[in-house]
C-alpha cells in the first residue's frame, strides 16, 4: 500500500458503493466522508439526509455533528425531527442507510450501546440514536468500520440494531421487508452477506492486504468468497477529492479532527 492510507481506501470504497439516484441517510464520521466523496465524484445528484432534518444537503466541509449549520444552509429543505423519522425514514423513502459500529457480528448486527451487562455496564457507549430504525426502514444498509478483534466480535453484547439476526431468514421472520446489511466496508476489505446464510463474506481485499491480515483483526473465522478480487486502488480524482474535503474541513473547524 503506497500513496494512500487504509483509512482513505475504506472511505473511497464506501463512496463507490453509492449511486447517483440514491437517497442516503448519513451517520457521522466515516459514513459522512464517504457520502460526500460520492457526491463530489461519480454521484453528483445523490440525496444526502442527516437525522437533524436536513434533506438534500451539500456541505462544502464535513460536519462535526449531524446538525451543523452548513447542513441546513445547503439543504433543499429542513424538516422537524419527528417528520424526519416518520415521513422520510419510516415512510420508506431512504434507499441506503450508512452506519458505523462499536461492535459488529458476522451477521451485521450492531452494538453501540454497552460493553458488558446493560444494567451494570463495563463501558456505557452512546446508544442507538437513529440506528435501530435506520437498520429496519432503509432499503439496505451499508456498514463501515475499521477492523479489530474488539470491533468485529463473535457475539455482540447488545443488539442496538438488528442486521440479519442469527442469519438465514431472520429478517423475514421478524416481518422486516427491507434488505438489511448488504455491504461491509472496512479498512482492509469489502464484505457481502452470503445469499443463504447471510454471514458476511470477504469479496474483495484492498490493495496489498492479505487474508491473514483480515483474519487477525476479526473475532470470527473469516470466510472468503470463491471469486475474491482486489479492490481497485483509489484513483487520483478520488484521492484528491477526499483529501481536499478533509483539508477544507480541518481549516473550517480550526484544526479540529472530525471523529
Amino acid at each position: 500500500m503506497t500513496g494512500f492510507t487504509s483509512d482513505e481506501m475504506m472511505t473511497i470504497a464506501a463512496a463507490r458503493a453509492l449511486k447517483n439516484d440514491d437517497v442516503c441517510f448519513v451517520g457521522i464520521g466515516a459514513p459522512s466522508a464517504a457520502c460526500n466523496v460520492a457526491r463530489l465524484t461519480h454521484a453528483p445528484d445523490i440525496t444526502l439526509i442527516y437525522e437533524s432534518g436536513t434533506i438534500g444537503t451539500a456541505p462544502d466541509v464535513l460536519p462535526l455533528s449531524i446538525g451543523d449549520g452548513e447542513l441546513c444552509e445547503t439543504a433543499v429543505t429542513t424538516v422537524s425531527v419527528p417528520e424526519m423519522f416518520r415521513y422520510w425514514l419510516q415512510g420508506g423513502r431512504i434507499s441506503v442507510g450508512f452506519l458505523g459500529a462499536a461492535q459488529l457480528d458476522r451477521f451485521g448486527n450492531i452494538n453501540t450501546t454497552v460493553i458488558g451487562d446493560y444494567h451494570r455496564p463495563k463501558v456505557r457507549l452512546p446508544g442507538g440514536g437513529g440506528a435501530p430504525e435506520i437498520a429496519s426502514s432503509c432499503g439496505e444498509i451499508f456498514i463501515t468500520m475499521k477492523q479489530s478483534k474488539r470491533g468485529l466480535v463473535d457475539k455482540i453484547d447488545f443488539f442496538t440494531s438488528f442486521g440479519h439476526g442469527e442469519g438465514g431468514h431472520a429478517r423475514e421472520r421478524l416481518g422486516l421487508r427491507t434488505k438489511g446489511p448488504t455491504l461491509l466496508i472496512t479498512d482492509l476489505a469489502i464484505w457481502k452477506p452470503d445469499p443463504e446464510t447471510k454471514e458476511f463474506t470477504v469479496t474483495a481485499l484492498h490493495p496489498g492486504v492479505t487474508r491473514e491480515a483480515v483474519q487477525e483483526t476479526c473475532g470470527w473465522p473469516v470466510r472468503f468468497a470463491p471469486g475474491l478480487v482486489e479492490t481497485p486502488a483509489p484513483t487520483a480524482l478520488e484521492l484528491d477529492t477526499l483529501r481536499a474535503l478533509r483539508a477544507r474541513t480541518a481549516a473550517a473547524h480550526g484544526g479540529q479532527e472530525v471523529a
Binding site: 462535526l64 442507538g128 429496519s136 416481518g175 479540529q256
Partner: protein, 285 residues
C-alpha cells in the same frame, strides 16, 4: 401567556425539585444558559428528558441534578462519550441515575404524541432490538386492520420544557428557524415552557407564513439571553463552538477538573456571560 423576565426568575418560577424537565435543541439552539441557571439554583431529583443529552446534560448530571434520564443518544457529537454520564451510570457518582433509553424514532414520536395530547406514540420500530427487552416502557399494539404489530411508547409530557430560540416579538410569539429539531413538540407537550431568545423584535413582519412560530399563549416565560445556546449555535447569529465540545472531553474526564470548571464557569457566573462567549463566533455566521 408569555411574560418577559430575567432567566433567574424564569427558572425559579418554572423548574422545581422533582420535575420532569426537557431541555431540547437538536445540536442547534441547545439551551445551555437555562441549564446553567438550573445548576446555580441547585434543583434536585429531576427527571431529565432529552434525545441527545450531550454536554448540557453531562454538566447537570455531574452536578447532581438528575434522578433519572430519558434519552436516545448519549454522546458528545463528533467527539466521543459523555464522561460525567458514564461516571454516574457506571460508578454511581455523584449518585445513581436511573436511565430510560429509547431510539431517536421513539423519542421523536413520543414528543409528537405528547404535543398531540395522546397517551402513547405508535410507530414501526425496535424490530429485533435489545432495548425492547430492557425497557419496560417499550410495548406493542396490533393494527386492527392489518394485524401488524407496531411499537408503542408512552408520550413525553414534561412538567417544563426549556428551549432557546432566535427571536421573540413584543407580544411574546417565538420564532425558531433552521434545524428546528423537536422544539415545537417539546414546548407543546409540556405543562410549562420557558424560552431564552437571542433578541426581541417589534414583529415578525415578512417572515415566511409556514415558519415555525410558537404563539405567545403556548409559552410561560421568555428571557433574553444573547449567546444563550453556547457552545451550541444559533442559525443566523453565531457558529457552533466546536473547540468547546472538544475541550469538554478532557474537562469531564476528571471529577475534580469538572468541579473546578463548573465553579469557575457556571456557579460563579450569571446569564450575562453568554453574550461574550459567542462574540468571536458571530463572524463565522
Amino acid at each position: 401567556m408569555a411574560t418577559f423576565m430575567s432567566l433567574a426568575e424564569a427558572v425559579s418560577g418554572n423548574l422545581f425539585d422533582g420535575d420532569t424537565a426537557a431541555f431540547e435543541g437538536f445540536t442547534h439552539l441547545i439551551p445551555h444558559a437555562a441549564a446553567h441557571e438550573a445548576i446555580r439554583q441547585g434543583r434536585r431529583d429531576l427527571t431529565l428528558v432529552r434525545m441527545t443529552p450531550d454536554i448540557v446534560y453531562d454538566q447537570m448530571i455531574g452536578m447532581g441534578l438528575a434522578k433519572k434520564l430519558i434519552f436516545s443518544y448519549a454522546g458528545n457529537p463528533g467527539v466521543g462519550l459523555l464522561r460525567r454520564l458514564r461516571d454516574a451510570v457506571e460508578n454511581d457518582w455523584p449518585h445513581p441515575v436511573e436511565i430510560e433509553e429509547h431510539s431517536h424514532a421513539a423519542m421523536a414520536n413520543a414528543y409528537e404524541a405528547g404535543a398531540a395530547g395522546l397517551p402513547c406514540a405508535v410507530f414501526r420500530g425496535y424490530k429485533g432490538a435489545s432495548l425492547a427487552k430492557v425497557n419496560p416502557n417499550i410495548r406493542s399494539i396490533i393494527c386492527p386492520f392489518t394485524g401488524e404489530e407496531l411499537a408503542a411508547v408512552p408520550s413525553i409530557r414534561p412538567d417544563v420544557t426549556f428551549i432557546h430560540a432566535q427571536k421573540a416579538n413584543r407580544r411574546g410569539d417565538v420564532l425558531v428557524e433552521g434545524i428546528i429539531g423537536i422544539q415545537k413538540e417539546a414546548v407543546l407537550a409540556a405543562r410549562r415552557a420557558v424560552v431564552t431568545v437571542e433578541e426581541v423584535v417589534e414583529d415578525f413582519a415578512g417572515v415566511h407564513p409556514n415558519a415555525c412560530v410558537l404563539p405567545h399563549w403556548t409559552v410561560k416565560a421568555i428571557a433574553v439571553v444573547p449567546g444563550g445556546a453556547h457552545p451550541s449555535y444559533a442559525h443566523g447569529y453565531y457558529a457552533r463552538d466546536n473547540r468547546s465540545y472538544l475541550e469538554w472531553d478532557a474537562i469531564a474526564a476528571d471529577r475534580e477538573a469538572f468541579m473546578a470548571w463548573m465553579k469557575q464557569n457556571v456557579l460563579d457566573k450569571d446569564a450575562d456571560v453568554f453574550a461574550g462567549r459567542v462574540a468571536a463566533l458571530r463572524a463565522a455566521r
